[in-house]
Symmetry: C2
Subunit: 92 residues, 2 copies
Amino acid sequence: MGDVYKALADPTRRLILDELAERDGQSLFELCGRLAMRHDVTSSRQAITQHIAVLEEAGLVSVRRSGRTRIHHLHTEPLREIVERWLTARED
Amino acid sequence: MGDVYKALADPTRRLILDELAERDGQSLFELCGRLAMRHDVTSSRQAITQHIAVLEEAGLVSVRRSGRTRIHHLHTEPLREIVERWLTARED
DNA sequence: ATCATATGCAAGTAACTACTTGCATATCAA
DNA sequence: TTGATATGCAAGTAGTTACTTGCATATGAT
């Protein structure tokens, strides 16, 4: 399993999470389009694919195939690790 | 102001935050020692200094001088951005 | 003043990361 | 099948990052 923190380190990847948070279940094509239109992401489709792969390895995004289309879903659970690590008072 | 996400991307920097979370107000020397002893961090003092600089730019650590000693303090507030960005339901 | 302690600065390097380009594959419709 | 759509794979490259080494500075104690 990949590194959640490293996955968040790139601004484009964070925008991908933003996009999926606003509209879950987008295809790759849809994502690329909306990232370009609404967030001024000029990267190529391949670049986006590679970013999504990193997010997937971190457990933040899951991919499901439907015909010739990839559908992407957001999973925020891995982010809770951050909260629990430093934002929660611990008793030891 | 630096990037909180990039600051968290490095495992050694996260251990520094862990250390300060457990014992706030450590000096550089103290930090280096405890990182080596308790977390098997083999990096040089300079490496640690550079990591702290990144954490400082991200607002996660503040440094105060006391004589020939640097005292480090943890600040978790910047981490709340992460929570509010994806872990909080938004209404728009 | 002298010496050890605690830290600062800077250049160099190896590894990693994001990105691109070019081509390949697969699905759907007509 | 043929063509267009949607995505996959892989090699190459520029820029970044973490790290080290060597030397400099500054504080505190004797």
